[in-house]
Structures are given as structure tokens and as C-alpha cells.
Amino acid sequence: MLKTYAYPKYEYQQPQEQLERSVARYPVVIVGAGPVGMAAAIDCRLHGIPVVLLDEDDTVSVGSRGVCYAKRALEILDRLGVGDRVVAKGVSWNVGRTFFRDEEVFNFNLLPEPDHKRPGMINLQQYYLEEYLVDRCVELGVDMRWKNRVVSVQRMSDGVRATIETPDGTYGIEAEWLIAADGARSPIRKQMGLEVEGKVFQDRFLIADVVMKADFPAERWFWFDPPFHPNQSVLLHRQADNVWRIDFQLGWNADPEEEKKPEKVIPRIKAMLGDEREFELEWVSVYTFQCRRMQEFRHGRVLFVGDAAHQVSPFGARGANSGIQDADNLVWKLKLVLDGKALEGLLDTYSTERVAAADENLMNSTRSTDFITPKSAASRTFRNAVLTLAEHHTFARALVNSGRLSVPVVLADSPLTTADEEPFSGSMVPGAPMDDAPVGIGDKKAWLLDQVGNTFQLLYFTDVAERLAGKLDELRGLSMDAVPVEPVIISEKAGAMDGVRVLHDLMHLVARRYDAREGSVYLLRPDQHVVARWRKFDAHKIRAAVARATCNPQ
């Protein structure tokens, strides 16, 4: 029990099929009710897929754990319907200060680009995120089964059979598709004999959650080699409820049990804060980490997501953030396959796309780790030289790497995208996650990203919506295809058209961010990534791009 948070306890109920001694078959069974498993479950329900979610425990994350949620994850949480609660409870910060030994060498202000709904990042204890996700799962009718531990999985040609242990004994369940969201130590991965390859970092970190009694700025402070903790690094970050997260690098030889004792932790924090500030210790943990991933994230009818598939160092907040993006990438593909509108091969692209993302996350978080905890004298000398030069020179500041802001990968090399035929400037290349911008619907202000997603869509740019009246039949035709494409008109002037949504480009920012002109069209995936774009509407080309994006014959 924390001073600022009471853990909910979710009720276990004996599953119906265990009572009846029958084996039920479900389209999707998800193992693990962490942020990633729940994101996948919610997305399944939004697509109308019945889903069972199994968890061996009956509460949320113990301890604050993942605390940074980046813009793209927040946008996905918006689509899933929990973004507002997460952002309302979370803490925004913009100022970061970097210290080397006893001096502040520089500070930065993230100053997010204006006119996006969500900021670059918020801080929130993982247990809050999980609580909100549980509420949303319940609201959408996810079949949540607490205290249901998967003891074995058996692969079949057309599905997976799982044996599950509950307080009432064991029972069997069948899934057409099983999503393994069972964490870094993934028992399912282990039981299937699948390897995860990568690097173990020989280092230990102490995390302490501290309730501050006095005001303290909502800033991120990072110390390299501070006098109160020589030769190591320390990070201070604010979370909700006036709780502060403090990370101390301990080194490999530290004794985790010893380091967790309050009599050991409290003096460390006192030395950091100076003695005058009062605080209370809320939660302490010691962790190590690995940077590694599975070779493939799809194994027949089993799909691995989140930490079960890939693990990164915590620097740069790429764990939960990338896991939520796994779910975002997977579920629309699963829906098309379940509906018989795409072949199973589409799910191989879940693996290729998210493996590419995992590699980028692994690269960035490994680089941060190498900068923060140099492994040789030469590496340490370079690191210290960068920090020394950073006080005066911007080129060196750009090299200081205490964790790079988690940003989504651009799927530029994905087989699902269609290459440009004509030049476009800006960053909305095929494969890019969409940029947000303000739009108007009638006289109401809204956000572009809240208006798209869950299905393929076509943004059609024009000065005046009514000008496209002649295209109405062709646009409606697209929306009646087997894989429907919903047309959405982005109009520079406010307007309306019968049966087609029109978004008013209030500040002309949509057209600017997408480098669009009169007649430009953008084809979008259900996960808000750009598939293809053209300067001129051509239904034939659009259908070919949809076929390519769903691995269907063109």
C-alpha cells in the first residue's frame, strides 16, 4: 500500500468453461494484462473482435515502473479512448537540466511544436495507466480473467490450445490467435523454446519513488558523476501526486537487497536534495536490464508483443511506448485476417515492421546507455570531453545523450507502403506516422488524429469541398470495397458534402504539414500511418495501394 495510491483488487471468477468442463474456442486470446496486452484487447473490441484477456495476478503494476508516455503512445491511447484520463492525471514537463560533477552544464526546453493535441511526453506512474486501461476493457466487454495463469501452450495448425491454472484448478482454452503479452520473462516464449538474442548490461539501478513535502520544480534533472554519487549517474523526474522518481546508477557489484533498505536509500536521497528538504520514501526497487529481441515476433498462430518480444534499456522510455505501438500495428491486421479479407501473410508484416522499430529502439537506447555508463577509459574520456564542451558549444550539447525522446519509427522500408511517383516535401513520407493538426467540423474545433484511424481512409485536399461533387460516386465506390476506404475531405474553406466527411483546415496546417495542394490525396492505414500519396486522385492507383497494404493480389 502506497501513501498516495491504493491498489485496486480485481475479482476472480471461475471461468464458465472450467465449471462446465468444456473447451471453448475464441478468435483472440491475450496473455498478460499489462499496458500492451490491454491496449491490444481494447483495440480488438473496437474492431468488434471477441477477446479473452488472461492475467496471473489480480491487480495493476506494483510500483511506478514505466513512467514516461510519449506523444505517439498518447495518440494511440486517444484512439483507444483513455488518452484524456492519462493526460489529465499525468505531469507535463519541458525543462531538462544536465549536470556534470558539481555544475549545471546546460539546460533545454522541449518547447513542443504548437498546434498538436498531445505534448512530446508526460510522466505518469504505470499503475494509473493500467487502472484506466482496465476500466476501458471492462467498458468494452473484454472477457478479463484474473488469477488465470497459462501453464502451457500447444500449437495447432489452425490455432493454439492453452492450459490455464486458476484457484479452482486447471482448464483448457482454444484460440485462433494467441497474443503473448506476458512480459520480459515471457513464460510462453520460454515454453516454446524461442530464443531472445542481445546484450546484457552489467549494471544495476536503484529506483526510488519519493513524496516531496515542499515545492520542487517539474523538471527533469540528470547528473553525470555528481559529488553526492561519484562516478555514477542520477536522474530525477516528477510524476503525478507530487511523487518523484529518482534513479541511481549503482554499478554491477552492488548488492540489490542491501541497496533497497531504507537506511541505505534515505541517506542517498538526502545527499542529493540537501538535508533541508523533507520527503517520504514510497517505493524502492533495484533493476538490471537487457537490450535484446526475438528474431521474429510471429510464430504461427502466436504473436509476441511488448517486452515479451523485445527489451530495451530504460533510457529514452522505449519499453511501454514501443509495446503500445506493437498493439497498434497488430490488431487491424489481425482483424482483416480474421474476416478473411487478407491472408495470414499480412501478419508476417507485423513482425517485419515491429522488428524494424525494435531495432531502432534498441540502437537508440543502447547508445544512451553507452553514453551514460561508459564501458572503457577511452569512452569515459570522450563522454567527459563532450560534457565539458557542452557548457559552451551547441555541437557538443547535441552529442550529450541522457536518453533520446521516444519517437515512432518511420516505416519507410515497409513492403506495405507504395513509393511516391511525384515529389513531396516535408516528413509525411509513405510509412510515416501521421502528424496532428487542428481541424474544424462545422463550427467546432477538433484534432485531425481524433478524426482518423480504425479503417483505411483517404484524405482528399481541396480549397472548396463542393468542388469534389463530381467525384462523389468514385469516392463512395471506394468506401464499398471489400477493404473499405473512407474518404475524408480536407477543405481550406469550411464546407459540407452529402455523405462524405469534410474537415475544415482551420489554420492551413494540415495542408502545410502534408505538403498538400489542390487535389492531393493521402491514403492512410487504420493505425494512422501514411500508406501512399499522390498529386491527383486515381481510384485505380488507390485500390492497388490498398491491395499492397493488405498483402492482397493487385
Binding site: 547508445r367 577511452a378 569512452s379 565539458t388 547535441a398 552529442l399
Partner: protein, 74 residues
């Protein structure tokens, strides 16, 4: 030509989606070049690298300014 003190890393023909990427690419190359070397070997690598880069820059006024910046505060 004055000494460049603003971020200046790039690779011809390569598109960067994030501003920090080219600098991080360079830093990784640098640290990788030193992997598994003894301290003495690392010092030798650094000396050779400085000589190669100095010859590449060539302009003694730039090198003089860089040397002064490097010496400052050491």
C-alpha cells in the same frame, strides 16, 4: 573559415528523420573504433585520428582555433 561550433554531422545521400541521429551515428562509430583496445592503444588511435583529421581540415587558422578551444579548461 571560422571554427564550426554548431551541430554539423551528416552523410551525403542519407535522410535523417531526427535531428539527433547523425551526431549519435558519429559518436557510436567513435566508441566502436575503440572497442577492445587497451588504454595505450586507444591513445594511439586518438593521436592518429587527430593527425588524419587535421590534414583533412588543412586550414591552420581553423586548427589553431580548435587547439585553443580544446586546451581551454584542461
Amino acid at each position: 573559415m571560422p571554427l564550426t561550433l554548431t551541430p554539423n554531422f551528416s552523410e551525403p545521400g542519407k535522410r535523417y528523420f531526427r535531428a539527433f541521429s547523425p551526431g549519435d551515428d558519429f559518436y557510436e562509430m567513435l566508441i566502436d573504433a575503440h572497442r577492445d583496445l587497451s588504454d595505450e592503444q586507444s591513445a594511439m588511435l586518438n593521436a592518429k585520428l587527430i593527425l588524419l583529421l587535421a590534414n583533412q581540415i588543412g586550414d591552420l587558422s581553423v586548427l589553431r582555433a580548435a587547439l585553443a578551444q580544446a586546451r581551454d579548461g584542461v
